[in-house]
Amino acid sequence: MLLLRLKEKFARRRKPLKQRLEQRRKLIGLLRHYIPSISILLYFVGVIWLLLLPYNGYNKETYVSENALLPAQVNVYYSQNDVNIANEFRDRILEVVDKSRESRAEFIFKELRQAGFHAAIQHYTTKDESFNEAEGVNAFGIYHAPRSDGTEALLLSAPWVSRTGEYNVNGIASVLSLAKLFKRNTYWSKDIIILITDESVRGMQAWLNAYHGVDFGSNYSSDIMPRSGAIQAAINMDFPGTREYESLAIYFEGANGQLPNLDLINTVITVAKYTAQVPFTLHDNDAINRPQTPVESYLASLKHLTDTIRFQALGHPSSDAGLALRYKIDAITIHGITATGMHQPFDFHRMGILVESTFRSLNNLLEHLHQSFFFYFLTNAERYVSIGMYMPPVILFACCLVLQSLVLWYSPARDDNLKQETGASLAYSTSKKNLGACFSVLVTTHAAGLLIFYIVRPAFDFGGAIVAPNTEQVTIVKLSVSCGIAATAILMAVSLISSKQSEVQVMENWRVLKSLCLALTALIVASISLINFSLGAVMGLIVVIPYSLIQPTAKMPLRLLQAVMLTVLSPVVTLYLVATLSRSHVVNAVTVLLTDYEVVDVWLLAFMCTAYWPVNMALYTVIFA
């Protein structure tokens, strides 16, 4: 009784149905009208947010979270004696550096054995630049810490060739002198592994794979090589040539955008600041000249940010150390920037102190590094942006696309017709949507994408049908084939969507297709940003506006313009542009991409072929519908 009375009371308060419907129609009309503009606005808010990140107000100073580390709180023992030993090693290395890789590895093996390490040589099989099978050889030694149980280890590595292209003579000499220093002491709780890798990326990856039993059965030498426990952290030393250095550069990005725990970088920075007292920076930026004005400071921070984004978006590890991150080994590379003579240089002594003190701090750890961040951006060596600050822009991009998608899904095609009939504007589109055609378009483009991926992979060589003398020609052939497949797919799709249907239905179809494409793009951007934020952000930045503007028109020039826009966004042309910006050939860019895929297991190639390109292809269909 009471309930009925309440219902009546509220029913009387409610406006009549017609009025409510009218209000709803107006609201939806407003939304339909303004949402596209709002979403574009959201996009620009996201862009501005990203640009604001380098400002000091939006990022914080770094600090060491793990109490166990105690960086720079212990005496160091790397003395002049050790510097002399390093100098001696340098002379011996210079004699051996031009010889074959077998003799170089033998040399390292002998030196490590003389130092008392449990030394070994690892032969491995890998793919060379032409993606044929090739051999390589690493040399390494393990110091079994006397009083420890050997379940954990620390890795100190150095490649034979530095990132500048010269031989890493100082780096290897320093590593060997540190090996002797470490052997003298018994306060190690973890084993120490000294590794000198051949051919940088390939050698390091082969050693890590063999150590973790990944490629079991492929190479006898790798299968029986001596091992220690689980590696907790790694420092890679890259100090080219035989000269002195003026600052320390830190490279930390890993494969697929993975980053080491921030505490490792903080520890090295703290030690560099207080114990070793050397200037430090990220990547190869200027460490000595501090920015004076706020504008300079902002630009410097922005440069750091874009450097990291570039490495992460391409999934390309910035140094050898980045390869170790997927094995739950926190690793960074320290690189010496050559002294220009204008500032106080440093050499073996301070390099040695830095690494010794860092290892002493890492030795204090009882657990894996877990207290500090795994997701961050560094605007300079001592300031970071946390994920809570930098994640929203990408979500805004995704929201922008999702809102537009929803509007397209619910907007009617026959708007004007109905208004004339009934005198009321239509709120929702009630006509049946032809999802079959749209899905078949998407299926076609994705199938084409898979086929392209299958062909472009280095393992595919056309069944031996085409025998090209070098990889360059093979790459060009593969690229052309992919473009051909893409074009075919587009033509098929266009025919699918416009065949045997009335004009009205075609008009409906393009809305549905565009809605699906935008939703799919939003899904890809948002999901990828969880795994690799930079890739998601870059993709969002470049595709949101163009994809939103795609519309079918009758005018030919506009159609052409849109087609050109989409072509520019397609992977092949993007790759060409990236290559030109980095001042290299597109074939080199593709080779790097393929090497990453084959050797380092970077999934950017798969992503571009199977997720990014199909959507791009499907949107061509919208133009020509």
Partner: protein, 576 residues
Amino acid sequence: MPWKKLPSCILLLLALAYPVQSKLSSQKDSFQEDLLISPLKDGKLLAHFQFTTLVDAGGLDEKDGRYAHYGLFPKSIGQIIDHHRVQELHLTFTQGRWQYEDWGYPVAQSAGTGVELWAWMKLDDSIESNWRSLTNTLSGLFCASLNFIDGTLTSQPELSFRPEGAKNSYNHDERMREGAEVRYGILPHENVCTENLTPWIKLLPCKSKAGIATLLNAHKLYDTNYHSMAIHIRPVCQDANCTSQSLELVQTVTSVLDPVRESGRRDWSFSSLFGREIQSACPVSDRSAVTVLLPSEQHEYQLTPSYDTIIERTAAQVERPIAVYNLSQHTEPLNLQMTWNEGEFSYPLQTSKPRVYAHKYMTGYGHERGGVTVNIFNNMNESQDISYFDSVPWFLKLYLHTLEVSVLGKDHIDQNDIVQDLYYQPAVDRSRPQVLEMKLRLPPDSVTAVSIEFDKVFLKYTEHRPDANRGFDVGPAVITTLLPAGDDNLASTVLELVTNRDTPTRQNIKVYTEILLASLPTPDFSMPYNVITLTCTVIALFFGSIFNLLIRGFSVTEDEVDEKKHENKDEISNSS
């Protein structure tokens, strides 16, 4: 009057005392102490201390306890094994890892890092509670957390850990073998320190006041490359027919010292190694000797003071002289010193490897799954039969179908030719571990790889240890085999020779692999409730709305004006 009865009371007491005294005099115990020093191939030095106490056991079925009186044999140990009905006990505390490739085989075979306890106990209804009680009592006695060896860490090996030694009563008495069961447990992460050494020394008759045990200086011992301290208790036969038996308590300390670390030279002396000298022999010992295994070439070294006896190169398979010092004949403190006629020591580039050894490592990466592979090396020209034992904790779920036994580089050898026998005990969550035991026939000159895969369990939030992000320790795999005397087990052959104990032609060798660290997925301990709340809020707010939006269908409704018309019509019709 009471005082008249006194003399008879005294006489009675004296009469009773006699049998007791005679029992005292008939129960013999003996004590022997030995120190063996042997230089190793990579410049290090093996120092092996062995203290043997023997006591007559009489019959082993006595109900009131075997030993009513304790002389040299420590009372605490006697009471423990009586009360818990233990027949053979081996408890080892090890710090560091034994490097088989550089050092050969150790004298004391148990070389697994951590604390290892295995015992043969009388099989009756209370064996489980006896085992539990035994671990607790030993934890109190030795100040170690042995009480953590509960059901989840205890296993019963079928093929390995058989009673040791030819003189062992087990090998003569069928009844003993049937009436007993073995229990094995290991704590790989247990640390060894002075508080474990102190009670161990207190079990010796002379403690650390006299004899060879005075060299046991904790500050030096715990700075070594390997340190292992053990007690071994087993029943032994006194004669060939085993009519009389004794209980043997052997206490060993094995330590690998590194004189090269300090000075770069291999020279050593008791004061440089241990910081002390041997003042005198233990007065109650039957035999107190220091044995030094000398290098083959006499010009390479100098040993002072000179030895009491020397056993030349005639001894079985030992091609080097053995110097023996009898401490009971020395009146002055003994500070042995050896200097090598060389400059700085240079490590040999290639060394001869032992005949059978193994390495274990974890494969794979990530927190979901992984694998374990053991490489077993056979450096002999002939096949060798071995027993393989591995106990894996329950939180690494092994998949038996992924077990692969292959010979590296020789794909033609079939798995069935290598695996002769297989025992597998699956795990029960939180109750017992997995046990994998195999009898393998290793092909000559080969590396056999045994690999198996596992899934990592996501533990309950409260089951993680305080240092959860470190991971959990997995014990070593044990490989047991019989080998004749050779270059790699010189130390044990020499010691057997010198002490005239068991001198078997083939010795039981146990090879222990490394221990591993399994990194299990850890939750974010600081945020369980926050995460649950956030997830539920998101799902409640957004899932419903989006689902609604996508699935909502539309239907035509009647206009309100029409409704009222119908209502009015009804009212009129009702009122009329």
